[in-house]
Symmetry: C2
Subunit: 545 residues, 2 copies
C-alpha cells in the first residue's frame, strides 16, 4: 500500500484551477505507483471560503468538482476535502467533509466533528458537526479518515470539545489514519503539530498520514509541513514548509521507521519564510506583480523592503524616499544604501512643499494653535498619498510597514503610514523586527547597520524618538504579549512584576486604538494571536480604557 501526500496551494473559489491541480498531482501520484493520494481540507474550494459558503451557487460548483474528480480516480484513490450539503433540515446547511473517491465513484465521506470556532476560525458559522464515524475498506486495508481539528482532541482532553472522533473510529481497528488539514502557520505551530500527531499515535498505535495545505490566503499562511508518523510514534517524514510538494510513502516502510526525519525549528527563520510566502501569494493570487513602499531609513520599512524583494524579486519592488524638514540626513542615506543593496528602484520626493501647501490652507483655521499631532499626521498622510499615487498609476500594491508593537498602541497615522494593501509586519513585535534584521544580515550587510543601531524615531518633529512617548520595546513587547497572546488581565500582568501604572497605561492604549486597527490592512498572521479576524473587540466600550 502506497500513500502519496500532495500539499498544495489552492485559490479560494477557483474550482476549475483547484481541480485541475488536484488531477495533475493525482497523475503524478499514479506515476509513483501510489494507491492513494491525499490532498487537503476544503481543497476543492480553498480554505477559508468564509461567507461564499452561504451561496448555493458556490456549493453547486463544489459538487460538480467532485464529479470531475470521479473520472480522474481510475487507478488511484483521491482523498480530498470539500463542503457537502447537510440533508437534514435541522442544524447548519453544510458539512466540512473529506471524500474518498476511487474507481469513478465516491467510496466514502467522513464529516468533520470538531469545528474550530475561535481566533481566526468561524467553522460553526457554516458547518454542522459530524455525529457518525466510520472507517472504510480499500484494497484490503481499513482506513480512518479525519479532517484537521478532529485529531486535536486526543482522548477527549481538549477542553473545547466533547467528542473524540478517533476514539470511535479506532474501534474498527483501522490500519492507518489519514488527516486532511488546513492548519494555519504560527511560529510555534509546527512543533505543536508534531506533538499532537505523536500523541495520537501514542494512543492509537497506528500510522498517521497528515496532509496540510500550503500557501497564503489573504492574512492566513499555511505552511504545509505534512507529516507521516509511524505506528511506533516516530516521525517518518516531515515535508517542506511553504512549498508545494508531493511525496509517496510505502506503508510497510513507514511501519519500520527507526530514525526520525523532521526539520529544525527557528522562530525567526520561520517568520521570515512565512511572510515571504504571504507577500508572494497575496500578489500572485490577486494578479499583481509589483509592490511599492516608503523607505524611511528606519528598521520597519527596511525589513519590509527586504521581505518584499525576496518574495517578488528586485525588479518588482519600488521604493519612495520622502524626507521632510524633520528627516535626518542619515535617514535618507541609510534608505538609499538599502535600496542599492537590494537592487531596487528608488525615487526621492521631498514632502516639505506639499506639507507647507496644506499648512497654508489650514493656517487661517488653526490660528494661535500650537504644532501637535495634527501636523505630524499631515506629513504621514502626504507620504501616504504620494505612495498611493504611484500605486494607482503603476499598479503597484502599497505595502504597510507598521509593526505589531506600534499597531497595538496606536503609534501610527490612519491613512498615512497605516495605509497599504497588506500589512507585512503587523504581527511582528518591534523586538522581533530587530531579530529579523539580524537574520537578514547574517551573511552580509543587507540592511545598513546604522538602521539597526540608531534609536527608533518617526521623525515627524525635531529630535523625536519613539522612547519619548513609549516605554522601551523590550518591556512594551513583553507586556503586549501577555495581554494580546496570553489574554492576561491587568492584575495578572502586574503580578508578573511589571509596573502597575505602565501596565494600565499600555492596556488602555491598546484598547482605545481599536478604531485604527479596524481600518488597517489585513495583517499577515505569524503568531497565535494576530490583529484582524482572529481578535474581535468592540471599538466603543469602557473595559480597561
Amino acid at each position: 500500500m502506497k500513500i502519496a501526500i500532495a500539499q498544495l496551494n489552492y485559490l479560494i473559489g477557483d474550482f476549475d484551477g483547484n481541480v485541475d491541480k488536484i488531477i495533475e498531482f493525482a497523475e503524478k501520484a499514479k506515476d509513483q505507483s501510489a494507491d492513494i493520494v491525499v490532498f487537503g481540507e476544503l481543497a476543492i474550494c480553498g480554505y477559508p471560503p468564509r461567507d461564499f459558503l452561504e451561496f448555493d451557487d458556490f456549493i453547486k460548483k463544489a459538487e460538480s468538482s467532485i464529479e470531475r474528480l470521479k473520472s480522474a480516480s481510475q487507478g488511484i484513490a483521491i482523498v480530498v476535502g470539500s463542503p457537502t450539503v447537510n440533508p437534514v433540515v435541522e442544524g447548519k446547511d453544510l458539512f466540512n467533509s473529506v471524500y474518498f473517491i476511487a474507481d469513478g465513484e465516491v467510496k466514502h465521506i467522513q464529516h468533520k466533528a470538531l469545528l474550530p470556532t475561535y481566533d481566526v476560525f468561524d467553522e460553526y458559522r457554516y458547518f454542522e458537526p459530524a455525529s457518525e464515524f466510520n472507517c472504510l475498506e480499500y484494497r484490503g486495508f481499513r482506513i480512518a479518515l479525519t479532517v484537521c481539528e478532529d485529531i486535536w482532541n486526543i482522548g477527549n482532553e481538549n477542553p473545547l470539545y466533547k467528542v473524540c472522533p478517533l476514539d470511535i473510529l479506532i474501534k474498527e481497528s483501522p490500519d492507518f489514519i489519514i488527516n486532511v488539514s488546513a492548519s494555519p502557520f504560527s511560529y510555534s505551530h509546527a512543533q505543536e503539530r508534531l506533538k499532537v500527531l505523536k500523541a495520537n499515535v501514542d494512543r492509537y498505535k497506528v500510522p498517521i498520514f497528515y496532509s496540510n495545505n500550503v500557501g497564503a490566503q489573504t492574512e492566513l499562511i499555511f505552511d504545509g509541513g505534512s507529516v507521516v508518523i509511524s505506528g511506533n510514534g516516530k516521525v517518518h517524514r516531515e515535508m517542506p514548509y511553504f512549498k508545494e510538494a508531493i511525496e509517496c510513502f510505502d506503508l510497510s516502510e513507514v511501519k519500520k521507521t527507526d530514525t526520525e526525519d523532521f526539520q529544525p525549528h527557528d522562530d525567526i527563520v520561520e517568520i521570515h519564510d512565512a511572510i515571504v510566502c504571504g507577500i508572494k501569494d497575496y500578489f500572485g493570487k490577486l494578479g499583481f506583480k509589483k509592490a511599492i513602499l516608503g523607505l524611511s531609513g528606519g528598521i520597519d520599512s527596511a525589513v519590509t523592503a527586504v521581505l518584499a524583494q525576496r518574495a517578488l524579486g528586485k525588479e518588482n519592488v519600488r521604493v519612495l524616499l520622502m524626507p521632510s524638514q524633520f528627516s535626518s540626513d542619515h535617514s535618507v542615506n541609510d534608505a538609499k544604501k538599502l535600496a542599492e543593496n537590494l537592487g531596487i528602484q528608488f525615487d526621492i520626493i521631498k514632502i516639505e512643499s506639499v506639507y507647507k501647501s496644506f499648512m497654508e490652507h489650514l493656517a487661517p483655521h488653526f490660528e494661535g494653535m500650537p504644532f501637535n499631532v495634527t501636523e505630524e499626521n499631515i506629513q504621514a498622510r502626504v507620504r501616504g498619498t504620494l505612495l498611493m499615487s504611484f500605486s494607482n498609476k503603476f499598479g503597484n500594491i502599497l505595502l504597510n510597514t507598521s509593526n505589531k508593537s506600534e499597531m497595538a498602541v496606536g503609534y501610527g497615522t490612519l491613512y498615512g503610514d497605516l495605509a497599504g494593501g497588506i500589512s507585512v509586519l503587523g504581527d511582528v513585535y518591534k523586538t522581533q523586527v530587530f531579530d529579523l534584521a539580524e537574520y537578514m544580515n547574517k551573511d552580509s550587510e543587507v540592511i545598513p547597520i546604522n538602521t539597526i543601531t540608531k534609536p527608533p524615531s518617526a521623525e515627524l518633529r525635531p529630535d523625536q524618538k519613539d522612547s519619548d512617548s513609549l516605554p522601551d520595546y523590550d518591556i512594551l513587547d513583553k507586556i503586549l504579549f501577555e495581554y494580546i497572546e496570553n489574554r492576561k488581565g491587568p492584575n495578572e500582568i502586574i503580578e508578573l512584576g511589571y509596573d502597575e501604572k505602565l501596565v494600565k497605561r499600555i492596556l488602555k492604549m491598546v484598547n482605545i486604538n481599536e478604531f485604527k486597527r479596524y481600518q488597517t490592512a489585513p495583517v499577515l498572521r505569524v503568531s497565535t494571536k494576530a490583529f484582524g479576524m482572529g481578535r474581535r473587540l468592540p471599538i466603543v466600550g469602557k473595559y480597561l480604557s
Copy 2:
C-alpha cells in the same frame, strides 16, 4: 403580580456604570410597586462584549456585579443577563445566562441554548449551549426564563437549531414567559419580532414579557421596542424605539388585553431614527461631542450632515466645502445653502493648489502618462487629509459619507472619501438615500432641492457623472440587494430578468473591491446584511471575480 420592563442602553465593559443604572431602574420599578423588573441580555457587561469575554478579569467583574445586584434585590426581583462560568471542563468556558435575583440571593439561572453564530453574531465562539431548562417559582407564580434567540425556534421549525427550549419549559406550566434580548435593529426586524412573539403565544398560550436592549454599540443599533403579549396573542404594549424606558405591567391587566397597541412601521423613518441613534451613541460612548464632514453639494454628504445635526446638535457639526477646479458652482452653493439651513459651521478650502503641489512633485515620475483615476484619487485624498487635520486639531470625529451602493462596487477612494471614524450611510443604498432626503424635506426644504434632483457625480474630472461608469441606481441597487441581502448567485439573479453581462460585471465589482471595504470604518447597520462583521469574505479569491 406586576412586571416592569426596563429597556436600557449599556456601555460594553462599564460594569460599574451598567450596574448603577440597573439599580437606579430597579428603584424606579419598586416605586411603581413592581414585583419583578426585567433588564436585557448581557446587560451587566453590555452586548456584544466580543473577545473581552476571553479575559478572566472581565468575567470576574461580571461576577462581582451580580454580588452588587444581590443587595439591590430587597423587595424586588431583578431579571438580568450576564455571562457565567461553565463549571464543566469540556465545552466552551462560558454560558450566556439570565439571572433571577431576589431577596438578596440568586434564585435561578437559566442559560441560553440557541447561540446565534451567523451574520454579526459569534456566540458559539464564547458560549456553551444550555442543556437544562427549568422554570422557577416566585410569589406564587411559575415563570419561564429565556434569553433572546431561545424563543426564535418555535416548535423547532427554525432550520438552524435542534432544540426548542420553550417546548421543554412549557411542560412545567409557567404562568408567563420572560425573555431578555439584545436583538439588533434592521428595518424589517420590528415586524418580524412581533410575528415571532405572537407565534410563541399561539403555541404556548401564556403571556410573554420581552425586554430588548436599546442604543448603539459601535455598528450595531439596538432599538428597544420591548413587547408584552397577552396569553391570547394580542400585543398588549410595544415600548418605544431607540429610547431608554421603563414601564410596569399588571399581569391581570395583560391577560385581559383586547385591543392591540403597537407602533406604525415605516422603513425610512426607522432607518432615519436608527442612524441618529447610532451616531449619537458612537460619539457619546467614546466621549466625543463634535463631528466633521465634507459637504460636496451631493446628496450623500447632505443626508449625512442632516443626520449628524439631528444626532449631535447644530453646534457640534462642522463641515468643510472643498471645491476643486472640477467642482461646479452649484455644488458649492448647494452645500452652503444646506449648511445655512442646518445652522452648522462651514468653511471653504479650495483644494486646487494643494492638488497642484502634489502633481508638480509627481510630474517627473508620471511623464507622458494620461490623467486617470490616480489624479481623481489625489483630489479625494487631499480632502481626506484636510478633514482629518480638522479632526485631529479640534477633536471632531470625521463622518464617512459613502453609501452602500458605492461601497459595494468600490466607487470611492481609500484614504479619501472612504475615510472616517464611522460610516453613516454604508448600509443605505443610494435609492434609499434619496428616500431619506425626501423624508427629511417633508415639512420644509432642509436639503436644497437641486442636491436631490441633479444627476449624481463625484466631480473628480470634467463633466463626470456616476452614470458614466455605473448603471442606473434603480437597477444597480436591486441587483446588489439580491446578491448581498438575499445571497443569490449570478444565475439566480439573471433568472429574475436582469441582463447577464450587467449582473456578472456588478458581482465582479463587488468581489474585487472587498479590499476597500476591509479598510473602511464600521458601518451603522440598518439592514439584514451590512458590510463589516456580518459579511465575511476573503479578499484574495477567484469566485465571481
